[in-house]
């Protein structure tokens, strides 16, 4: 770390600072500004200031859209993360087992879903879930008879589960790769010593493997939880947030980002959704800061 003249610092920093300031930071400030207006389709150019009214209507009652959407999204994250983690962990443990041969082949084959562009993942799964021509119902008819069919995208609960399934497909490889990397760094002497002391496979897993995986799993879980909270492509492209029971209530898979996207670019409620964005952002930034402080990263950055 060295001291340089202020002018030099400025020259080095300015491209990034000016760029980030104009293209990233200014829009966020502008978003806060819009959140205090009634800008929408009818007041697009001639909007007026309405103070905190948008925030009030956002948080007014416990059955407001905000809480419904947020609750759905939390439930979605709470179901997804243990599934991603569990499947990723099983796959990593299997890949790391000394009895398995052709490891490179299995590893690459299992990472493939991560490499597929997420909008293509969504559009392909959308076709799988189709009630008539969808592959899943074609398979189901083989077992259950020619008239059968499961309501993959038409029933609210099934639709929710379908989005979980599509997200599981594209998200488990991340955990698998992280856990596999951590597994390979555990010294084998630990297991040998435990074996000498008479520990079985189960005990070794709970007492050695899991505690030593924790430092790798925790940040991966936080990162994946934030990404899952921000799910848009899979939900919007597969169900557009539906099925909808009534036009006035959020749909069964209308998670936070789907709701924001629909309110902004289909209903054009810019002022209202800008306020929504501010509240969601404060929550996300809180989680990010908290997890960084937790892992000691912020202090290290400050050196």
């Amino acid at each position: 770390m060295y001291r340089v003249r202020a002018a030099t610092t400025l020259v080095y920093l300015s491209p990034m600072i000016i760029g980030v300031g104009l293209i990233s930071f200014y829009p966020i400030l502008y978003n806060v500004f819009i959140s205090a207006t009634n800008q929408n389709l009818y007041h697009f150019r001639r909007y007026s200031f309405i103070g905190l009214t948008n925030y009030q209507s956002l948080l007014k009652t416990f059955d407001a859209d905000f809480f419904i959407v947020l609750g759905k999204t939390f439930l979605f994250v709470a179901i997804c993360i243990p599934l991603f983690l569990g499947v990723g962990m099983l796959a990593a443990l299997a890949l790391n087992h000394p009895a398995v041969r052709f490891k490179a082949f299995w590893r690459v084959a299992l990472i493939v879903p991560w490499a597929v562009p997420s909008y293509i993942t969504a559009l392909v799964w959308k076709f799988f879930f189709n009630g008539e021509f969808g592959t899943l119902n074609q398979l189901y008819r083989v077992v259950a008879g020619p008239q059968a069919g499961l309501p993959w995208l038409t029933d609210p609960n099934w639709a929710f589960a379908s989005i979980v399934l599509a997200n599981l497909w594209m998200s488990y490889p991340f955990f698998m790769v992280v856990i596999l990397g951590a597994l390979q760094s555990i010294p084998s002497e630990l297991y040998e010593a435990a074996a000498v002391d008479g520990a079985g496979a189960w005990r070794k897993f709970w007492r050695i493997t899991l505690p030593l995986l924790r430092p790798a799993i925790l940040p991966a879980t936080v990162l994946s939880a934030i990404l899952t909270f921000n799910t848009l492509n899979t939900a919007y492209l597969i169900t557009t947030g539906g099925p909808f029971e009534s036009a006035a209530k959020p749909g069964a898979t209308e998670f936070v980002m789907v709701y924001a996207f629909r309110e902004a670019f289909q209903l054009f409620n810019f002022g209202y959704i800008a306020a929504f964005a501010v509240v969601i952002f404060v929550m996300l930034f809180g989680v990010t800061l908290g997890s960084l402080r937790f892992s000691g990263l912020v202090r290290e950055e400050g050196r």
């Binding site: 340089v4 202020a6 030099t8 610092t9 080095y12 920093l13 300015s14 990034m16 600072i17 980030v20 293209i23 990233s24 930071f25 200014y26 829009p27 966020i28 502008y30 978003n31 819009i34 499947v87 796959a91 299997a94 087992h97 009895a99 398995v100 299995w106 690459v108 299992l110 990472i111 493939v112 991560w114 490499a115 597929v116 562009p117 997420s118 909008y119 293509i120 559009l123 392909v124 959308k126 021509f133 592959t135 074609q138 008819r141 490889p173 991340f174 790769v177 990162l223 848009l232 492509n233 924001a260 996207f261 670019f265 800008a274 952002f281 996300l284 930034f285 990010t288 800061l289 400050g302």
Partner: protein, 278 residues
């Protein structure tokens, strides 16, 4: 019990791994077979895993009858633009954040972190309104600007993380020997960072190449579409055979998947944060 340990465990492992591989690869296999399937033959109630009469018609169609070649060109232009501008705009700033001591540094880092925590879908709302005011909605240049809002912060953060791992003694020794700060940056830091610069650039390219949300809002005319927006429109129409979408998906995904799989051994903590899945 010993027999189970000798043969049972490996057998169970292979059964599990095979089931996982079928789960992982079936969608990819499905797209491949659909791409070679003629016309409406995918729309049946019964399961059929391979077309009776495979054909290349879908590929000919997307290259001659719809603006797919323009979509490819547009995607390439937008992605390369984002990648180059992101890297050039962030490299010196990342160096300053890694090596210089100056007032307000902690604040800058926290602000960058805050911007990165702002989800791109939410940032799209003000960006759309601003681009609308200055008349750039519908233009690929506006889309590159929108992508830059993510790219600059991402590249700065990544490169700073990498510069931090280069031993400080190297450039400090050069400075003591009379090297200028600029020389230390160009002659020592940048050459040592070529792998990190390449990985960051390619991640940026992939992110832009695979981005659907912003492009779907900011592009209006079919001829300016990037591939994701074009493909979305293609499969949204039930009169259009799904085979066209499948064929186009294959062409678009295979190179970037190869790139991604080639790159993934470079993904360490610092290089995955904030990127890749959009």
């Amino acid at each position: 019990m010993r027999i189970l340990a000798r043969f049972g465990v490996p057998a169970l492992l292979y059964v599990f791994l095979s089931a996982m591989v079928i789960f992982a690869l079936f969608p990819a296999f499905f797209v491949v077979q659909a791409a070679f399937r003629p016309g409406q033959s995918l729309y049946t109630l019964t399961l059929s895993l391979w077309p009776d009469h495979p054909t290349l018609d879908n590929f000919t169609y997307i290259f001659t009858q719809i603006p797919f070649p323009s979509w490819l060109r547009n995607s390439l232009g937008v992605s390369v633009g984002t990648m180059v501008a992101g890297l050039i705009g962030s490299a010196t700033g990342a160096y300053a954040l890694s090596r210089f001591r100056f007032a307000g540094k902690q604040m800058t880092l926290i602000l960058l972190l805050a911007i990165q925590a702002f989800p791109s879908v939410l940032a799209l709302i003000p960006i759309y309104l601003i681009l609308k005011t200055i008349g750039l909605v519908g233009s690929p240049f506006g889309l590159v600007l929108a992508y830059m809002s993510v790219a600059l912060v991402f590249c700065t953060w990544n490169l700073k993380g990498y510069f931090d791992t280069i031993p400080r003694e190297l450039d400090e020794a050069a400075l003591i020997d009379g090297c200028s700060v600029t020389q230390a940056f160009w002659r020592i830091i940048l050459p040592l960072s070529i792998p990190a610069l390449a990985v960051t650039a390619l991640l940026m390219f992939l992110t832009a190449w695979n981005e659907w949300v912003m492009a779907s809002v900011l592009l209006l005319d079919e001829n300016t579409y990037t591939v994701p927006v074009g493909l979305w429109g293609l499969q949204n129409d039930y009169r259009v055979p799904w085979g066209y979408f499948a064929a186009a998906s294959l062409i678009v995904s295979i190179p970037v998947m190869a790139l991604f799989l080639g790159l993934q051994r470079y993904f360490r903590a610092g290089l995955t944060v904030g990127g890749v899945k959009g």
